[in-house]
């Protein structure tokens, strides 16, 4: 009897301690720090992420805050953000500012590899978990650094997997033999070029007849296209930034050259921006990645794409200068990961945050697709199906065509 009572007490003890630990005095606000680039080369990928993140924060604050498990209550979010103007030197200072001066509770990196790069060592040094939105640089994810997790973009090396698979499978069946690769020499597109080259060579079914890098500032592709045409490829992959893709597609139309398969990264991922600058006629029939912004995944947490799009259009009506696109989904999706992390973390300690984020891996499905991290924190769950821009009535639509599991239509490879 006595022993049982004692045992019972003993069993209660840690629980009591647990309760006491579960409710430390809650802060009045939860500080989330991030950077954005309102100008410079990364503005177009950074601002949508930032604007979308603000939608998530406003939604939470309208509900009285975000639920934080260690305090067992909702806490309003305070967003602390600075403009790095696409400069890494400025960004480095500002990340430091967020950590050391503003003492933010959670740190979110700016969009893209370049502006994320400087945050990686700083976050590691200060033992601060870095929510890496779309910095996919291969050097970021190492075994000795637990303070990083990639949210929205898969690492660059797995992006072009389905391009290669499609060409090796359906392409070869339809008589595609020769491939040309033209890429801009920067981290993001160079890595993808290397990856797709590797996939194609490994399969050994296709012949790479042209493989050239050009400076990222290249703005005229007429002669390059002429040279590519001289090699008679069936498929042309142009891997560049938005400005490159605009110039490439325009010059392709001007040149009159026809290739059976043409791929650009931003034809799909920044479709609105490209439509504005290139026009539907020049984009029709080309292939691109299908970004989350144009694909209905079945989320098990958060709104569907349609619901989020409605919220976005309400916050940023047409003409407000904020463009809808994949990066908007990335930003909002990062908010959702934050929300689940805060709802499951054992404490606000940064390693506990790390454990909570990694605990979501494989379990969370958002409007951006499945969320899965490898041991180093790189995103491997997100996928980028291959899509083709096809005319449906009067509108150009991006139709997922590969892999079969995600396909919503059939690829048209022409003659």
């Amino acid at each position: 009897m006595f022993r049982r009572a004692l045992l019972g007490l003993a069993a209660l003890l840690p629980l009591g301690i647990g309760v006491a630990r579960a409710a430390p005095p809650a802060p009045a606000e939860l500080k989330i720090g991030t950077l954005y680039a309102s100008s410079g080369p990364f503005a177009s990928i950074s601002m949508p992420v930032y604007d979308a993140l603000k939608i998530w924060i406003n939604e939470k604050n309208a509900e009285g805050g975000v639920f934080v498990k260690p305090y067992n209550k909702k806490i309003p979010i305070k967003l602390i953000s600075y403009d790095d103007q696409s400069s890494t030197a400025t960004a480095a200072t500002l990340y430091n500012q967020l950590i050391t001066q503003d003492k933010v509770d959670l740190l979110i990196a700016d969009s893209g590899s370049v502006l994320t790069s400087v945050a990686v060592p700083i976050a590691k040094e200060h033992k601060m978990f870095l929510f890496d939105v779309s910095g996919t640089g291969g050097t970021f994810f190492t075994k000795d650094n637990p303070y990083i997790g990639l949210m929205a973009d898969p690492v660059s090396t797995i992006w072009p997997k389905y391009i290669a698979d499609f060409l090796d499978d359906i392409g070869v069946k339809n008589g595609i033999k020769k491939v040309a690769i033209l890429y801009s020499t920067n981290d993001f597109t160079g890595t993808q070029a290397a990856a797709v080259r590797g996939f194609i060579k490994k399969a050994g079914k296709l012949d790479i007849v042209y493989d050239q890098g050009v400076p990222t500032s290249t703005s005229n592709y007429t002669v390059l296209l002429n040279n590519i045409a001289a090699h008679n490829p069936d498929a042309v992959l142009e891997l560049g930034y938005v400005g490159n893709d605009i110039a490439f597609l325009r010059n392709l139309q001007d040149s009159g050259d026809k290739f059976r398969f043409v791929f650009t990264i931003y034809g799909g991922t920044e479709m609105d921006e490209l439509l504005k600058n290139v026009g539907a006629a020049a984009m029709q029939g080309t292939f691109s990645y299908v970004p989350a912004a144009l694909y209905d995944y079945k989320p098990n947490f958060g709104p569907t794409l349609e619901q989020f799009r409605a919220a976005w259009d309400k916050a940023y009506p047409k003409g407000s200068g904020v463009e809808w696109g994949a990066n908007a989904v990335y930003g909002y999706m990062t908010g959702l990961v934050l929300e689940r992390t805060l709802a499951t973390t054992a404490s606000m300690d940064q390693m506990a945050i790390h454990n909570a984020v990694f605990g979501l891996s494989g379990k969370l499905n958002t409007l951006d697709g499945p969320f899965a991290l490898n041991a180093e924190g790189a995103q491997v769950g997100e996928i980028t199906p291959l899509g083709q821009l096809q005319m449906q009535g009067k509108d150009l639509k991006l139709v997922a065509v590969y892999p079969p599991k995600f396909a919503k239509g059939k690829a048209d490879l022409g003659k």
């Binding site: 030197a89 430091n96 050391t100 790069s117 060592p121 040094e125 050097t139 190492t142 890595t191």
Partner: protein
């Protein structure tokens, strides 16, 4: 005796800034912001060495900075040098570049400025080229996390700054420095008075470039992960130039004033409204050139006051 007093004044000001930046590290915790101040103080004075004393304005000053950063990175990556040796290699890289570019000194000011910018961009294109990926990592950037030591590299940066200040003080007060200024005012008469124009310019050019190279090296060490775009960002040249012009070249005070005021304002308001700041910057540059080409300190110097 007044000479000695002047030197003491100059050195006093230099020492004050060096001590202040050392103490600040213990007081204020945004180390990188402090580091950037130290870096721009060094770069502005380095630019001052060549622009203030010879009238040659290298728009491509950032080329030496980048050469230093990559000199440091390559030494660490390929030779596994300890950081201080790598830093020496950074300085050497900039020195070699300066020797290669020395023929540019034959050009007159405007052409020199633009040619040096073109040279810096050409170097960037070489280093960022994917064909050299095995050597430089091309556009994919370098990671030097093995030698990452923010505290030590901060104080090394302060030491480089101190040496730079000492050089400026020396040039301001030595026969050599005075002969340089004579060249700037009138190269033909200076040459007739027996001043070696070529040698004088060359020395200032090499000193100035080594300082930028060391700055770049210690920047690479401090920041440890960077892309070619980071260290060849023309903003480095622009900032150093504007800071120097704003305060007034040829003095020690001028660039200090420029950095503390303008970079201070930049960090206080520029980062929230960058376009407006860029606008003000642009307007400031135009206003200075038109109305105060010798900088703020000229308000005092033209009234006969001596400014350190």
């Amino acid at each position: 005796m007044p000479d000695r007093k002047r030197i003491a004044g100059d050195l006093g000001l230099a020492a004050l800034v060096v001590v202040a930046m050392s103490v600040a590290h213990g007081v204020y915790s945004n180390e990188l912001l402090l580091f950037n101040f130290v870096m721009f103080l060094t770069l502005s004075q380095g630019l001052n060495l060549i622009y203030g004393f010879t009238g040659y304005l290298p728009f491509g000053y950032v080329g030496f900075f980048g050469a230093g950063a990559y000199g440091f990175a390559l030494a660490v990556m390929h030779l596994h040098s300890p950081p201080l040796l790598a830093l020496a290699i950074a300085g050497l890289a900039a020195l070699v570049l300066a020797v290669i570019l020395a023929p540019l000194l034959r050009l007159s000011g405007a052409y020199f400025a633009i040619a040096s910018l073109a040279a810096a961009q050409a170097l960037y294109e070489v280093i960022a080229n994917p064909d050299l990926q095995d050597l430089t990592k091309g556009p994919y950037g370098v990671s030097l996390s093995g030698v990452f030591a923010p505290r030590l590299s901060y104080f090394v940066a302060v030491a480089i700054m101190a040496v730079t200040f000492a050089l400026v003080v020396w040039l301001r007060n030595s026969r050599f420095g005075l002969s340089l200024q004579a060249i700037r005012e009138d190269p033909v008469s200076a040459a007739m008075a027996g001043v070696s124009v070529v040698r004088g310019r060359m020395v200032a050019w090499l000193l100035s470039s080594v300082i930028a190279g060391l700055s770049g090296g210690v920047f690479a060490w401090h920041i440890s992960v960077f892309y070619p775009d980071t260290v060849f960002d023309v903003t480095f040249s622009i900032f150093a130039t504007v800071f120097t012009l704003f305060g007034g070249a040829t003095t020690l005070t001028g660039p200090l004033l420029g950095v503390f005021f303008l970079y201070g304002v930049y960090n206080a308001i520029g980062i929230t409204v960058p376009q407006y700041f860029q606008l003000i910057y642009g307007a400031l540059i135009m206003g200075l050139v038109l109305f105060l080409p010798n900088g703020l300190v000229s308000l005092l110097t033209r009234r006969g006051f001596r400014v350190p």
